[in-house]
Symmetry: C2
Subunit: 386 residues, 2 copies
């Protein structure tokens, strides 16, 4: 379908009103595109700032259909739209990117693991889990502790459990969640390879980054990953590009990786703009949000050149004090006039991602100083005792 807005440019629909839609809207504004957002509530991060907001449930086919009818292309800011609803849209003739067939691999960890193993991509040893006996058998194979993961629905460390004993595993199994088990990989650090791909098949990769997690949540991203050999960087980018093609991903694909003594292993996939590439807003000539739009509209992709030798992003988490942002912002601007601040307009809850800051190396500035500025900026906005 051809659905055009201002200047005869396409109308893009994004399901989900979170910060990814919010930042995609900023990119859409520059390109003259009309972004429509399907949001849960008027106080959703994107709904606060976009005018093309439709309120509705992403689990309601009627709401999705009505939303999609006014969009040339539909894409997502999260993975939570049930696959059968996306299939129904596709059957209606809606252009959905990524497609239901591709997105399954970001929605279901077990499907993803099995497919990647089939493709010969490096993944940790894993096993579907239905019974305690399954875990015990897998534990004999990979040792304890091991990792249990909900096959679907987890994010930011939710739905992932490191279990030490069969007893701990039994408790999780009893919850009835569909599970898989995975070896607890002795990792050196986590990396992310983020690429974008268009329906035409053009693809572009940003430099591989190091991601730092705390309590299962990304807190810091360093671009490019420090000390990463050229060879391993190319391996990671090549892997992400190959997966994008094999899985027929359209849009941004983030491949979260473990770096181990024995090489790279794929941890998770995300098929949308991703926290590990927020640094691209200022740190790359083309941000992941612009690139995602270009990709889903089958425009040629933009250059991924860095704008500084080092770029560090730190997430701002909600702290104990939900008030006082105006004063904290004021003080932060005074303290570091070159830090870039992104706040998502979200209600502050302790530990919730409410924004991020990006520090870019000034001429001659070393990585340690850039990291310190990003961390201190994020801590400062969080407020309270860190």
């Amino acid at each position: 379908m051809t659905i055009r807005g201002a200047m005869g440019l396409p109308v893009v629909g994004m399901v989900g009103g979170g910060q990814l839609s919010r930042m995609t809207h900023q990119a859409a504004i520059a390109l003259g595109l009309s972004l429509r957002v399907l949001a849960d509530a008027t106080h959703d991060s994107a709904a606060l700032v976009a005018n093309g907001v439709v309120l509705g449930e992403h689990t309601s086919l009627a709401d999705l259909r009505s939303f999609a009818a006014d969009c040339e292309v539909v894409t997502f800011d999260h993975e939570h739209v049930p696959g059968e609803l996306i299939e129904a849209l596709e059957a209606d003739g809606v252009q959905v990117y990524p497609s239901s067939a591709a997105l399954r691999h970001a929605q279901d960890k077990l499907v993803m693991r099995e497919r990647l193993a089939g493709l010969g991509a490096p993944v940790p040893p894993f096993c579907p889990i239905a019974t305690l006996a399954d875990v015990e058998g897998f534990g004999r194979h990979v040792g304890w502790p091991l990792v249990l993961k909900a096959a679907t629905g987890g994010y930011d460390g939710k739905g992932v459990w490191v279990v030490r004993t069969p007893e701990e595993a039994a408790e999780i199994i009893s919850s009835g969640v569909r599970l898989m088990a995975e070896q607890l990989v002795p990792l050196q650090r986590e990396l992310a390879a983020v690429v974008a791909r268009s329906p035409y098949g053009q693809a572009a990769a940003w430099p591989v980054v190091e991601t730092v997690q705390e309590d299962g949540m990304c807190v810091e991203v360093v671009a490019p990953a420090p000390g990463l050999s050229e060879e391993r960087a190319l391996e990671a980018q090549g892997l992400a590009l190959r997966l994008a093609q094999e899985l027929d991903v359209v849009g941004v694909l983030a491949v979260e990786l473990f770096e181990t003594a024995d090489g790279l292993l794929v941890n998770e996939l995300a098929m949308r703009p991703h926290n590990s590439a927020h640094w691209t807003i200022e740190g790359s000539r083309t941000s992941q949000f612009e690139q995602h739009l270009r990709a889903v509209l089958d425009y040629p992709l933009g250059t991924t050149q860095l704008t500084a030798p080092w770029v560090v992003m730190a997430n701002v988490l909600g702290g104990p004090d939900a008030e006082g942002f105006d004063e904290r912002l004021h003080m932060l601007f005074a303290k570091d006039p070159s830090l870039k601040v992104h706040l998502y307009g979200k209600e502050v809850r302790p530990g919730r991602k409410i924004g991020h800051v990006t520090a870019l190396a000034a001429p001659g500035e070393g990585l340690d100083d850039v990291r310190r500025r990003a961390r201190e900026g994020a801590d400062h906005l969080r407020g309270g005792t860190a």
Copy 2:
């Protein structure tokens, strides 16, 4: 008044729904601020993309009052709000930046010229004009041709006439417009010095740029101005900073300058984000739109460091063909994957500013190539035979 939106951050109101509001909205989104826009119509450039849009007339005190009641600070994307209405808002206790007293100097060219002359700032010889005898007298002093300007209401070359003879002048005088006359300055080129200033008195300057006009309209901006001596650059920045302080400007101040064999002369002032600083979106660590918001909210200002050795902006003007933007955008992305595109969502009319593109020097790329890329990109989006 303290009027807070999401995260307890201030609500900023911008009068006018043009592209300056549109791009300010992008900056507001990043900072978590709530921007309200007073627009003429739902198809205004900013009204297409912002959710805090109020429809109303910027010449109606009732509309302005009702708009301002929900804003902590009110600012402008144009100079067309009558000064007496701004004064009425100020009398109500509304925090307006720039103030009516400052803004007069951007609204009335004769007031500006007289004030600047009084401050000892370099301005071309000028004279208020009421009768043909006034022009004839001034012409005997500065020679013909000379320039007539409407004291108020002109922009983009409108309201400016180069007249060769008293007869030509007589025709313009007969129209009843309030006029001033100015020497036709033998200029070498035009420059712009853009600064921002906060109520606290902090100020920051971007590098001085060269601006290229065609038919009185800015078509190209080169940052920094090529071949400008350090001494003259400092003189221009110092002049702009001094004028910001003397006129008590809050927000962005653009000082348009003539460079002549005898030195710099002030041409025009604008007290809002300005076309001569659109390049700062990607070309400076702090864009003029972010800086304007920081200034009117009295936050400390951001660093104005460049992100590339050369940054060139070219305006995209409406061409003969209002259709086909999607195809032209596609082709442009293929042709130059590093060009940054900004389209304003405006109805295409020949010669109307409908967007801009920004080219940033890649490592080792010379100015000629950067200029060529910007110009070709803008021409390409314009379409038709240039």
